[in-house]
């Protein structure tokens, strides 16, 4: 069975560190890497009628923005690295969705970054790493 690593990437420097570390490990282990980018989404949030009407359009825009602004530059960077890299963009609860991707791909490890910095987003991202450590179906490496 092919050795697959999942690296969570949100476009931040800490996400990048996780991807880079996953690549280094993958090289040694002759593994391939799936870069997972999850857009936070709850099917139980509340929307106004106007938002409901535009949701499908917005979803398309959000996905293409994630592809062009977050994933494409990273993939370009990693193209020459000698490791086979693919990407997944999904909507959902971040930690749970990363676990789902890992299960679907038959991954043997998950890599995720964390920062101890105080911005709100990074605090949230930090808690994602914490949740992932609790619920990951395979060994999970948290990259500082």
């Amino acid at each position: 069975m092919a050795n697959i690593f999942v690296a969570a990437y949100d476009g931040s420097p800490s996400g990048r560190r996780a991807v880079d570390y996953a690549i280094t490990q993958a090289k040694a282990a002759k593994a391939s890497v799936v870069v997972a980018h999850v857009l936070e989404w709850s099917p139980y949030s509340f929307l106004t009628p106007q938002e409901i009407e535009e949701r499908h359009k917005r979803r398309g825009q959000e996905l293409s923005r994630a592809e062009t602004a977050v994933i494409a530059p990273l993939m370009k960077d990693l193209a020459e690295g000698g490791v086979s890299v693919s990407s997944e963009i999904k909507y959902g609860h971040v930690a749970e969705t990363i676990c789902e991707i890992a299960t679907q791909k038959g991954a043997s490890q998950i890599f995720i970054g964390r920062t101890g910095q105080s911005t709100v987003v990074e605090r949230l991202f930090g808690s994602v790493a914490g949740t992932l450590a609790q619920i990951a179906p395979v060994p999970c490496t948290i990259v500082p």
Partner: protein, 515 residues
């Protein structure tokens, strides 16, 4: 254009009255009230015309007959599929790859925030104070039957919606009447759709706007002390303006998030009050059943209770009115029928749960004055309503009922009423706008004209007195139901095919759970 002229004339008259000040005997509120009543009287009289020789309005029979026909035609669908409906809302059948699209839960929550409003708080109080406790029984029955109407219209809303290249969608009775009639070779679709759109615009000014503003003002002035209604109107109109014209979404988003919490708080408190007065339970249900069939001395007897119960239920849950079909039509699903299954929960939550809570609190806390000798209700001859402990009506009665147990609750109720009113206005401004653009075409100018008119009616609604406002609100909303239900009768075989196909595939295991 005619409406605009009238609007201008009304504005002019209102402003003139304002500046005349104390010299004028009539206050501004009275002027608005008189003008409003005389302008809308004919329409109200037509919609609520009774069957010759009876006091039974034809429109109530129209709604109940339709709900009963749908219930029978679809074989009591509302009771057969309710378990599946809940599974759909939970997302058990949603494809994870569609995450990020509007979920069944979101469509239901948004449609509910448009219907859960003052109908549940003030409307029920009106029903009880005119129709007595017996109205509760008929209200619950109407809620249960209405689930079938809602199911039919929301399925059609999704099936015949317009999807535009940019990914946005427009749906609702205007679209299913036009497209469905054309598909079945029935003439007159375009005419009916246009008629529906006109009534929908009036409904958005009436029940979706003026009634809300009116009762929000009643509640505010009850707590803050009496002050002119147009002040509340101007403030409300400004906030609505900021949201719908200014595009400040954050206010609407905050409201959308607080409204469900308020609904839970409201029901929770109602439940506590009912439990605290649990000793009255036998008596209360005795009153409800006795009232439903004898009237217990109310004007119009048992028929009066029935009319009030059915009217207020229809006004609150909007089943058969067609508005929910506009809200539900945007959901992403391969099976239009699933949205129908989800939408039938709406009258259940709105009427069978929330409205009944309000009714029980009013009855349990004994707000209605009973003649101790005869056991019948004491009528207030001047108002035509049952006399109440604090001589209150509408939202004031609900407030008094809750306040009799928790003295602080009227303050919470003010917040709830204002938020419910606001979220209902935002939803209805959207429904009205959809109807408006259906008639006049999409475009910035057309939209702005509608939005400004909508804001103007907020002021009128807050300033006019309850009677004319509630009459016009009911009339406009029920007029929508007249057209919508004609459409539903023609298109119900389409829904039947969808139901049979879906349920057989569900049974055979072709439609699978994703969870």
């Amino acid at each position: 254009m005619k409406i605009r002229m009238e609007t201008r004339a009304a504005c002019g008259a209102a402003v003139a009255t304002l500046f005349a000040g104390a010299a004028q005997a009539q206050s501004m509120d009275e002027t608005i009230n008189t003008m409003f009543a005389s302008a809308t009287g004919w329409f109200v009289n037509f919609i609520f015309a009774p069957f010759p020789g009876t006091s039974f309005p034809w429109i109530v029979a129209w709604l109940v007959t339709a709900a009963s026909i749908f219930t029978l035609y679809f074989g009591f669908i509302q009771f057969r599929v309710i378990r599946h409906s809940i599974q759909l809302v939970k997302g058990d059948y949603s494809d994870p790859n569609d995450a990020g699209e509007v979920s069944h839960f979101q469509a239901l929550a948004t449609a509910l925030s448009g219907t859960v409003g003052l109908g549940n708080i003030a409307g029920v109080a009106v029903a009880i104070s005119i129709g007595g406790p017996g109205a509760t029984f008929w209200m619950i029955l109407a809620g249960l039957l209405g689930m079938a109407s809602k199911f039919t219209e929301c399925t059609l809303g999704v099936k015949y919606r317009n999807e535009y290249p940019d990914g946005t969608v427009s749906g609702g009775p205007m679209y299913y009447i036009t497209k469905g009639f054309a598909e079945r070779g029935v003439p007159g679709g375009k005419f009916l759709a246009a008629l529906f759109a006109i009534f929908c615009i009036l409904g958005s000014f009436g029940g979706g706007n003026m009634f809300q503003a009116n009762q929000a003002h009643a509640q505010l002035s009850g707590v803050l002390g009496d002050y002119p209604g147009w002040i509340t109107g101007v403030i409300f109109a400004f906030i609505v303006f900021v949201v719908i014209v200014g595009g400040i979404k954050s206010i609407a988003q905050v409201t959308e998030k607080i409204v469900p919490l308020m609904a839970i708080l409201y029901c929770g408190t109602a439940l506590i009050i009912i439990l605290m007065n649990i000793g009255n339970i036998g008596w209360a249900f005795g009153q409800i059943f006795a009232g439903a069939f004898t009237g217990l001395g109310i004007a119009g007897g048992a028929v009066g209770a029935l009319i009030q119960g059915f009217k207020r239920a229809a006004f609150s849950n909007e089943a058969g009115v067609g508005s929910a079909a506009i809200a539900h039509s945007a959901v992403r699903t391969k099976e239009p029928i699933t949205e129908g299954f989800v939408s039938l929960l709406e009258p259940f939550i709105d009427t069978v749960v929330i409205c009944t809570m309000t009714a029980l609190v009013i009855i349990f806390t004994q707000q209605l004055v009973v003649d101790p000798e005869t056991g019948l209700y004491v009528m207030n001859e001047a108002t035509g309503r049952i006399a109440t402990v604090g001589d209150t009506s509408g939202v004031g009665l609900t407030s008094a009922a809750f306040g009799s147990t928790f003295a602080f609750f009227p303050y919470i109720l003010v917040v709830a009423v204002v938020l419910f009113a606001f979220s209902t206005m935002i939803s209805w401004s959207y429904y009205g706008l959809k109807a408006w653009t259906y008639l006049f075409g999409e475009g910035k100018t057309q939209e702005l004209v509608f939005k400004l008119l909508f804001c103007f009616f907020v002021i009128v609604g807050a300033a006019a007195s309850l009677g004319p406002v509630i009459d016009f609100s009911d009339a406009a909303i029920f007029a929508m139901a007249v057209v919508n239900i004609i459409g539903l009768y023609f298109l119900m075989p389409v829904v039947k095919r969808e139901v049979e196909s879906y349920l057989s595939r569900l049974k055979s295991g072709e439609i699978k759970k994703f969870v």
